[in-house]
Each structure stands twice: as structure tokens, then as C-alpha cells.
């Protein structure tokens, strides 16, 4: 599927600001599941753009504006061709016990930790074990955990913030895709399943059916021995299909924040974000 993504972020500052530094993780990943045909990051005022690859091989675009300015526009446009693996094609017989090996725990340490917003509290740990019940196959367990998150939590924008932890969210399970993803990460990690955070975009053909399509979206990937990383969207309770475009990977939101910046200035700031994903 060919998808076109337009992601626009506009800042207006009541008083001129300076030394505005920004880091963007908005470049679609190039992997077996997605091929980038076009990707442009346009910033106004015009800047010298720089790029590097971070620890997680995300492409980071960054720039700074030293002179005083009253507005900043970051326009990201991408055209990506996607494909998807059907969930049924995954190795259904990979076992949880296959993960309890030193080479797995060592190489996936960052994706097994209780850290930052992903807190594996005793309560989350107990819940993970309860949901797992007698199941031993990773695919079945992960699917059970995703169903649990989807059934337990309600999608309510504006209740949580970027720093809400799984502990806080689990106590009052109302939030957005990022909270859903963090909780599923915590539940998977509690059972020793390597799980990482993905930030990206999702296409909603019928408009209004897919949660998270009006902004940057977030979901999870879990690692299955003998196969690799597999994507799951707990907010919409489904495996990743060709409607999804991933743009950043990390342990949690902190590593995969689409736009992060700082500037020197006082006064009010107004931000407007629009995301359009359309089939081409």
C-alpha cells in the first residue's frame, strides 16, 4: 500500500524567541516492511538541516535557529510503500521458555527493563501472570495481553501527559495511544518478552474508525525467537498491518519523541499539529 503522510507542526510565539533547537524523529524507517519513496522535512524559517542516526538507528533531523523569530513551521511529508505479515504466519509455537536464555536477556536488556514511564509494578506483574494463565506460546500470550489492555483501558485524550507512567495509567486507565503502548510494554516485559515502543502513523480509510490516526500514533513491537520483531497496536487491538508506517523505535516515548525542542524566550506559545495520512 502506498501511503502519503503530511505531518505539520506550527508554533507561534507571543514574543520573539531565540536559540530554538529542535530534534525530530519523523523519518520513516526503511526495513522489509516499508520502503520510503519520498521524505522531506521542510522548516520555516529556512534552516540548515542536519541528520544523524541514534542508538536505535532512528534518523534524527536537527536544527537550530539563533536569530529572533515569532513562528516556526515544521512540515514533514513522506510517501511510503508498506506491506504486512499476517499474524497467522507467525511462529505460533515459539515458547516463553525460549526467551529465558542468557543470550536473549543480554541482547534485549533495554527492552526488558522497568524504567521511565514503563514501570513494572507488582500489580502489573501479577496482572501479566493472570492474563497469561496456562498459555506457553509467545504469540498467544502477547495477543492475550493486547486484548486485556484494549478491554481494560479507555481511549480518552487530554487526561494523561507525556510523562504519565504505567503505574499512574493502570490506576486510572484512561489515556491515549502512548499510554496503551506503555502498558502493553510493561505487561510483556513482566513476562520476560522483549518489547519496544514504536512511534509512527496509521492510515484510517474510513476516517474515525482507527484511533490515533489524527496525530502521531504509537504501538509496540515484541520479539519472537526465530522470527524477529512483530508489531501490535493495543489502542486498536490489532496486529500491525499495511496501514502503519513506523518512524522511530525506542525503549519508550522518551526515545522516540517525534519532535523535541527548546528555546530561549518568555511569553506564550501556541502549538498546532496536523497529521494527514492518505492512500496514494
Amino acid at each position: 500500500m502506498k501511503l502519503r503522510i503530511l505531518h505539520r507542526t506550527e508554533y507561534r510565539y507571543a514574543l520573539p524567541v531565540r536559540n530554538n533547537n529542535n530534534e525530530l524523529r519523523v523519518t520513516p524507517l526503511d526495513n522489509a516492511r516499508q520502503r520510503t519513496i519520498l521524505h522531506l522535512v521542510r522548516v520555516l524559517p529556512a534552516v540548515k538541516m542536519r541528520r544523524y542516526q541514534d542508538l536505535y538507528r532512528n534518523t534524527v533531523s536537527f536544527f537550530e535557529i539563533d536569530e529572533a523569530h515569532k513562528s516556526l513551521v515544521i512540515d514533514v511529508s513522506s510517501v511510503v510503500e508498506t506491506s504486512a505479515t499476517p499474524f497467522e504466519a507467525l511462529p505460533q509455537d515459539a515458547l516463553l521458555s525460549d526467551l529465558a536464555k542468557p543470550e536473549v536477556t543480554e541482547s534485549f536488556q533495554p527492552y526488558l527493563q522497568s524504567d521511565g514511564p514503563v514501570q513494572i509494578t507488582p500489580q502489573i506483574w501479577r496482572t501479566a501472570i493472570d492474563v497469561k494463565a496456562d498459555r506457553k506460546e509467545i504469540v498467544a500470550v502477547v495477543k492475550g495481553l493486547m486484548d486485556f489492555v484494549h478491554e481494560t483501558c479507555r481511549y480518552v485524550p487530554g487526561v494523561t501527559s507525556v510523562s504519565t507512567t504505567t503505574e499512574e495509567f493502570f490506576a486510572k486507565p484512561q489515556g491515549v495511544c502512548q499510554d496503551f503502548a506503555h502498558l502493553l510494554l510493561a505487561l510483556c516485559r513482566a513476562l520476560g518478552i522483549p518489547a519496544r515502543y514504536i512511534c509512527g502513523y496509521v492510515y484510517d480509510p474510513k476516517r474515525g474508525e482507527v484511533l490515533g490516526s489524527h496525530a502521531s500514533h504509537a504501538w509496540c513491537e515484541v520479539w519472537i525467537p526465530g522470527y524477529g520483531w512483530v508489531g501490535l497496536d493495543p489502542t486498536n487491538r490489532r496486529p500491525i498491518n499495511e496501514a502503519y508506517v513506523a518512524s522511530a523505535i525506542g525503549r519508550d516515548y522518551r526515545d522516540a519523541t517525534p519532535i523535541r525542542g527548546s528555546y530561549w524566550g518568555t511569553g506564550d506559545r501556541e502549538m498546532r499539529v496536523t497529521v494527514h495520512v492518505e492512500a496514494k
Partner: protein, 476 residues
């Protein structure tokens, strides 16, 4: 039969590969064309010519005593661009116009690219179409080039190269639309389905123009400003205005009062919000630019400065399509977008750089020399085809005005079978796709394929004996 005696030359041929085999994406159209008898073909060509004459699809040649208005020559063998090639071209063009618009914003604001030493300040200040009086003036949506016509050629290996960007008033799109209409009428059986349509261009152009309406006016009055019936592209002006259902006006139909622009109508003055101007900066406003111009509107520039009327393209875009600036476009793409150019371009020697000048003077007979600010194939020397006198004439011109000249190696650009007296011969072609910069960037699938009808000629400009072809971008 038509194809039997077609010979590929020692350069890239659009139709056949190096072994003389028809390229797979041409097979169906070639078969259908070959299925026509000589009489059928001749008859169809007659009806095509008649159609073009009746439709009044003409252009004007300056400096010719035999009359100025001509029917635009048309060749019925369509050029075919497969989907994967188009995907590459489209991405490259979008990248390029993005960089050019950022460059224009920068040049007319902070000029970071100069301060960072990427482009020498002389290049900007030496460009004939740079408008220093517009530094610091904001334009709606920060859009400078709304309509861009970028000329592409293909080299020996079939690689697409950008020859130049036309970011002022690019013309030719009306021929793209008319060529398709004519082909559909006269050769309907050639279309096997899967050719991407071009007919949305007028509505896309109108949307692009409405997008820059000042004060976010949801219902702007958009007009097309033409220099008048004697302009070489007048056919196109009237064609586009009609297709978009907007008024076509001349300078004398407009009046600027208190920083607003109005159109004189039989019911009094009506405010104008967006002007699609097909008239050069120089002639826009005698108060600011050429004093002797009767084509423009006094006070228009003031209204633009106050943000009460939008011009498409904006004033001063000529600094970006200057032939010296062209040499720096790859650097712009690296600077503003931190990417490598998707489309390559022709190596360019700049006469004002001492080393390049030495090279140019030593190699004049092998180079193409172009004046930096001319278009339409005027003011150009093609070394290998020039006489000694012409070469010497250019030598003294280049020495006298180094900033004004660039030189490029002769690219043996691709050829395409073209009907000449009932059989096919290879003729050189280029491609001018049209890019619209509005709410999103749209590239018209296809563009104007111009063909040099004179045997061996590489000048495709209509003013210099060029014709055109329908261009088919395949959907799959």
C-alpha cells in the same frame, strides 16, 4: 511495418533498447500504431492538423518575417514513461521545488545560505532577477514558486537529468492538455487503459492559486494577468483562464487604489485577491520596475507588499532559476533538506570562476554556452554545431560578461521515434513536467515532451523549430 525500418542511434532511444528490441512498456502502443495502414495514418495526421488549426493551438515566433503565429507541430507517437520511472521523477521534482522555495524564502529573509558560505553573495546579487527591494517582505504561505516547469533530458544511459528550472512563468501546460484531447479524439484505440489522466491540472492550479489568497479569504477573486494577444503564450493564457473559469485581464483592466487591486468591470470595481500573472517582474508595475512598461499596473507592487494581493509566482523567483544559481541547486538540497539530490543535473561551468573560465575558453567548440538569464533557447551557443564566427562572437561575450554565461558539456540526449513523411525517424526529445506548490505539492503526471523536429537538432524550443508529443505516464 511502421517499426520495421526504425533504427536506433548510438544514444538512448526511448522506444528500443540497445539490442533494438522494443521496451516492454512501449509494446502495446507500438503494436497498435503499427496496425494502422499508411492511408489510415496519413488521414489521421490530417485530422490532427486540422484539429489543432481549428482549436487555434498556436504559438508566436519573434523575429520571423513570415508571420508570427504558428500551429504548434505535433507528433502522434506518444512518449511512454513507466510507473517506476515516474515515481523517481516525481520524488526528485518535489524535493527540488521544496529546496527552491526554501532558498527563495532564505534569500528574501535571513540569507543563511550565504552567511554559511554555501552560495557566494555575488551569485545572488549578480542574478538579473534578484529583487533586493523584496528582502524582508513576506508572501502568503511563504510560497514563492507556485508553478514550476522543470526541463529534464535523458543522457546516454537513460538517466534523467535536470536541464533547468523554470520558476517564473513556465508555459506549455496547455499543450499537454490539448495534446491529450487531440490524441483521444483521433487515436482512441491507442489508449489501452492505464494511462494516467492529466485533466485535473486546471482545477489543481486553481486550488493552488486560491491557497495563497491573502487574509485566508475563503472565496477569493482569482484572475490571470496576460501581457496581451501578442505574447507568444497568449493561447495558453486564454486556455487556462477558460479552463479555470477565471477572468483573463490585461494591465489596463486592473487598478491599484490605497494598497488594494481592483478589476474594472461593467458593474464597477471588484477587488482582486490572487493574480496568476503570466507577465515578467519587469513589466508588473512601472512605479517599481520598468518605467516604460505599459503592460503592468501602477501601485500593484505596493498592494503586494501590504499583503492585500498575492502574485503567483511571487516577485523575484528569477533568482532561483538563473542559470548560475542552477549550479548550486544540489547544494541547496543538501543544506536545507540534508539529503542528496534525487535527480542529477548537468555539470555546469561558471564563467566568473577563473578556473571554469579557462576551461570554457579552451573548450568552446565542445560546449553549450548559455546566457544566464535568457530563456526560450535565445542567446545560446552549441559548440559542435557552431561556425567559427559564432564561437568567436561568444568568446568575446563570455570574456566581457563572465557573470552572465555558463557552459555545459553537450549531453547527447535521448531520441524518440517521430513520424517524418510517413515513416519513423529518431528525434531528440526533452520533458517538461509541471509542479504545483499549494496545500500539498502536485506533479502533473507527464508533462510536455518537446521534440526537435530538425534532424540532428538538440534545440526543442517551439520558437526554434520544435514540436511536441503526448506524454503517457503509466499507472502500473
Amino acid at each position: 511495418m511502421l517499426l520495421d525500418d526504425y533504427k536506433a542511434a548510438a544514444l538512448f532511444d526511448e522506444l528500443v533498447d540497445e539490442k533494438g528490441k522494443v521496451r516492454p512498456y512501449y509494446q502495446s502502443v507500438a503494436d497498435r500504431l503499427a496496425g494502422l495502414s499508411q492511408e489510415e495514418l496519413a488521414q489521421k495526421i490530417r485530422s490532427l492538423e486540422l484539429l489543432f488549426l481549428k482549436q487555434g493551438i498556436t504559438f508566436t515566433v519573434y523575429g520571423d518575417d513570415r508571420g508570427t503565429e504558428r500551429v504548434f507541430p505535433f507528433d502522434p507517437f506518444p512518449r511512454v514513461v513507466p510507473a517506476h520511472e515516474w515515481e523517481h521523477i516525481e520524488a526528485g521534482l518535489i524535493q527540488r521545488i521544496t529546496a527552491l522555495n526554501l532558498f527563495l524564502y532564505d534569500v528574501y529573509h535571513e540569507q543563511r545560505i550565504i552567511k554559511d558560505g554555501i552560495i557566494p553573495t555575488e551569485v545572488i546579487h549578480g542574478a538579473a532577477h534578484y529583487r533586493p527591494e523584496f528582502v524582508g517582505v513576506s508572501v502568503p504561505k511563504d510560497a514563492y514558486i507556485h508553478v514550476c516547469g522543470t526541463d529534464l533530458i535523458r543522457d546516454h544511459d537513460g538517466r534523467y537529468l535536470v536541464l533547468e528550472d523554470n520558476g517564473r512563468c513556465p508555459s506549455g501546460v496547455s499543450y499537454v492538455l490539448e495534446n491529450r484531447t487531440a490524441m483521444k479524439r483521433v487515436f482512441p484505440h491507442l489508449f489501452g487503459g492505464g494511462v494516467r489522466p492529466v485533466d485535473t491540472y486546471p482545477s489543481d492550479l486553481l486550488a493552488t492559486l486560491r491557497h495563497v489568497a491573502p487574509h485566508e479569504n475563503p472565496n477569493p477573486n482569482v484572475v490571470l494577468l496576460t501581457p496581451g494577444v501578442h505574447n507568444s503564450a497568449y493561447f495558453e493564457h486564454s486556455f487556462l483562464a477558460r479552463q479555470m473559469s477565471i477572468e483573463i485581464v490585461e494591465g489596463r483592466d486592473l487598478i491599484a487604489l490605497d494598497g488594494f487591486v481592483y478589476m474594472r468591470t461593467t458593474r464597477g470595481l471588484r477587488q482582486v485577491d490572487v493574480i496568476y500573472r503570466r507577465i515578467d517582474d519587469d513589466f508588473l508595475d512601472p512605479q517599481v520596475f520598468r518605467k516604460d512598461s505599459a503592460l503592468g499596473v501602477p501601485g500593484l507592487v505596493d498592494a503586494v507588499r501590504r499583503g492585500n494581493v498575492a502574485l503567483a509566482n511571487a516577485i523575484g523567483t528569477g533568482v532561483a532559476d538563473d542559470k548560475v544559481t542552477y549550479a548550486y541547486v544540489p547544494e541547496m538540497i543538501r543544506y536545507y533538506l540534508c539529503q542528496e539530490p534525487i535527480l542529477d543535473q548537468v555539470p555546469t561551468y561558471l564563467a566568473w570562476r577563473p578556473d571554469d573560465m579557462k576551461y570554457i575558453l579552451a573548450n568552446l567548440p565542445n560546449l553549450v554556452v548559455k546566457a544566464a538569464n535568457e530563456s526560450g533557447g535565445y542567446g545560446m551557443l552549441i559548440g559542435p554545431m557552431a561556425t567559427k564566427e559564432q564561437i568567436e562572437e561568444f568568446r568575446s561575450k563570455v570574456i566581457a560578461h563572465p557573470r552572465n554565461y555558463i557552459a555545459q558539456p553537450v549531453v547527447n540526449f535521448s531520441q524518440h521515434p517521430t513520424l517524418v513523411d510517413g515513416h519513423l525517424e529518431g528525434r531528440h526529445v526533452d520533458l517538461r513536467p509541471f509542479v504545483l506548490w499549494g496545500d500539498s505539492v502536485k506533479v502533473l503526471p507527464g508533462g510536455l515532451t518537446r521534440v526537435a523536429l530538425k534532424k540532428g537538432s538538440i534545440v526543442v524550443n517551439s520558437s526554434q523549430g520544435g514540436g511536441s508529443k503526448d506524454t503517457w505516464v503509466l499507472a502500473h
